[in-house]
């Protein structure tokens, strides 16, 4: 396991970052910090994908100087997945931020626990 971990240190970093983001999204009470956690989590996955798709010594999968040999470029599919994933996570972050603004305007706090407490006080 030891030597593998050293070779794949990029994947290990991605997994650790994923855990950091995940815990932040789950446990932070501040909504903005939660959203930051979300973005760390998603970026960690993209790092993982990019790391997996990279082949040492090869170029980005854009044809340059007329070289069309498969051997010259890295695997383009993970890059495509990352792009799609970024689009998804941008829209989700935007939605979360807009919800946060709504809640802030209503309750003047970003703390989810305080909001829950105020809701209880309101009754209903």
């Amino acid at each position: 396991m030891g030597p593998n971990l050293l070779v794949n240190y990029g994947e290990a970093v991605a997994a650790i970052l994923f855990c950091i983001g995940f815990t932040n999204l789950l446990l932070q009470t501040n909504l903005i910090k939660k959203i930051i956690g979300l973005n760390i989590m998603d970026s960690a996955i993209y790092l993982f994908l990019a790391e997996k798709g990279y082949i040492a010594g090869r170029a980005a999968p854009i044809v340059t100087n007329g070289v069309t040999s498969v051997e010259a470029y890295i695997n383009p599919i993970p890059s495509g997945l990352v792009l799609t994933g970024i689009v998804v996570s941008v829209s989700v972050s935007a939605l979360m931020l807009s919800l946060t603004i709504r809640l802030y305007l209503r309750y003047h706090t970003l703390n989810l626990d305080e909001i829950a407490a105020q809701l209880k006080k309101e009754g209903r």
């Binding site: 995940f22 939660k34 989590m41 997945l81 809640l103 989810l112 105020q118």
Partner: protein, 497 residues
């Protein structure tokens, strides 16, 4: 290839584009477009189902002109077409049943937005049902989440926005895990199409390579989808989201959205990992235990609840527990029981939500049990429908709930080691179900001296009453003619392999 084979693709695109069209239409026109689209997709799925039952085998549809390992694919079998048809029926009835209430709940200028969300939700559900590509499934899971979140928060009160935030947070945790699991799976197998992944996975199992990453990947995907479908410890967002959103949203969210994720999980189990390989992992034991816990704790929370909508929402937690218990048994019979319960729960839970709104309307809009006393007399149709739904949930013969409990019990008997636990918890859960549902039924039929609330007759609620009757008919049909449905499910599962 026959023309009918285009129908899955047509239904996804039709619902997706009608969503965009609704954005420029006024509310009333958007409503008409929405109804026509749901009905059209339902008819197409029905024709497809008949066609597939005739040919007896599933087909794969290329999206674009690239063959298997490169292109994106749609795949349709009996189970997929049947699910799509059923989703359309439930969605149409839920929309029709909650339509009269929409004017109180949502500002009129936002009505077309509501229909956009419904159309998007339908298209993402259809895509989850039909797709044969893991990454497409992930993208549509996110679209499903976003539109479901919109459906929760379109009624702008503090509670719904908070519920939407909580829903989003839990869903995003779930989809993060799903995506990570999916990426690991892609790295292990080099494929994104379900059938190709399955071939590579069986090779990996035979050679014994990469066992731990494989299990980790499967576990991550399972946990992700469990969180999104509100399995027991992850259900905190559910009561507020179902309890305070508009009534159509609540009915659709509880009966369709969570079921879409569960159906995706079934597809992953059968078409990506392989049923036998999945059953040899310890994951099914975990699903089994959490399913059982959900069945008990969901019901206990429902008993303590003092608000009818929240009570029905907590009951969903228990019912999702049943479904996962069926997965946990690890047999074909357990899986068939789970899929039948998906249908039965969807038909019953939406009926209960739509009936409950009829009861609260004649109680001054209050959802507290104390105000609902005698509501069954003031709104006779909703009272009868609520009683029918409750009987189905408890598992009285004639209704669909009885059949799913029977199937679960039959499946449990065949499994050594899990039989006793499953049967005992099934018994306890049935008693608990009976406690809170019968308590409510007795409450709405209690005689009260209070005559300050108005009575509603058929004339005031024509559409609502017809929808309730149709829901009850769907329920009884599932309960009375269960054998053809069970045969269809078995045929569909055989096509999955």
């Amino acid at each position: 290839m026959d023309f009918v084979c285009n129908f899955p693709f047509f239904s996804i695109l039709l619902s997706l584009f009608s969503g965009t069209i609704c954005s420029i239409l006024p509310g009333r026109a958007a409503k008409v477009v929405n109804r026509i689209v749901i009905a059209a997709v339902g008819v197409m799925s029905g024709i497809l189902l008949v066609y597939l039952l005739g040919t007896g085998e599933s087909f794969v549809y290329w999206m674009g002109h690239f063959p298997a390992p490169w292109g994106n694919e749609i795949r349709a079998g009996v189970l997929e077409a049947g699910m799509a048809l059923f989703f359309c029926i439930i969605m149409y009835l839920s929309m029709a049943g909650g339509a009269h209430k929409l004017f109180d709940e949502v500002e009129e200028s936002k009505h077309n937005l509501y229909y956009i969300l419904i159309n998007l939700l339908l298209s993402s559900l259809l895509a989850l049902v039909y797709t044969n590509d893991m990454f497409t499934a992930y993208v549509f899971v996110e679209i499903n989440t976003i539109s479901a979140c919109g459906l929760i928060m379109i009624r702008q009160v503090g509670r719904t926005i908070e519920a939407a935030v909580r829903y989003m947070i839990m869903s995003l945790l779930g989809s993060g895990l799903l995506l990570f699991g999916l990426c690991i799976m892609y790295d292990l197998t080099g494929h994104l199409l379900m059938s190709n992944i399955k071939e590579s996975v069986s090779v990996l199992i035979q050679t014994g390579e990469y066992q731990i990453p494989l299990i980790v990947s499967v576990a991550l995907m399972c946990v992700g989808l469990c969180i999104k479908s509100a399995l027991f410890p992850f259900h905190a967002w559910l009561p507020d989201a179902y309890g305070y959103s508009t009534v159509s949203s609540a009915a659709i969210l509880s009966s369709l959205v969570s079921k879409g994720y569960i159906f995706l999980l079934i597809k992953i189990i059968y078409r990506v990992i392989g049923f036998d390989i999945f059953n040899n992992t310890r994951i099914i034991d975990v699903l089994f235990v959490f399913g059982l816990m959900g069945m008990i704790f969901g019901s206990l929370s429902a008993i303590k609840e003092n608000d009818i909508r929240r009570m029905i929402a907590f009951s969903s937690v228990a019912q999702i527990g049943y479904i996962y218990m069926g997965f946990g048994m690890g047999t074909q019979a357990g899986m068939v029981a789970s899929i039948f319960h998906i249908l039965s729960h969807a038909a019953t839970k939406s009926l209960l939500f739509i009936a409950a709104i009829g009861l609260t309307e004649v109680s001054g809009g209050s959802r507290k049990f104390i105000d609902l006393t005698g509501a069954g007399y003031r709104n006779k149709w909703a009272g009868v429908a609520f009683t029918a739904g409750s009987l189905s949930m408890v598992g009285v013969p004639l209704f669909s709930g009885f059949i799913s409990k029977l199937l679960f019990a039959q499946a449990a008997v065949q499994v050594e080691g899990k039989m006793l636990a499953a049967l005992i918890v099934l018994g306890i859960s049935t008693v608990l179900n009976a406690i809170y549902f019968m308590k409510t039924v007795i409450r709405i039929y209690a005689v009260t001296g209070d005559t300050s609330y108005p009575c509603i007759t058929f004339k005031d609620m024509k559409v609502h009453a017809v929808v309730l009757v149709l829901f009850v008919i769907v329920n009884i049909l599932l309960g009375v003619s269960s054998q053809p449905v069970v045969n269809m499910i078995e045929q569909g599962l055989a096509m999955f392999a």
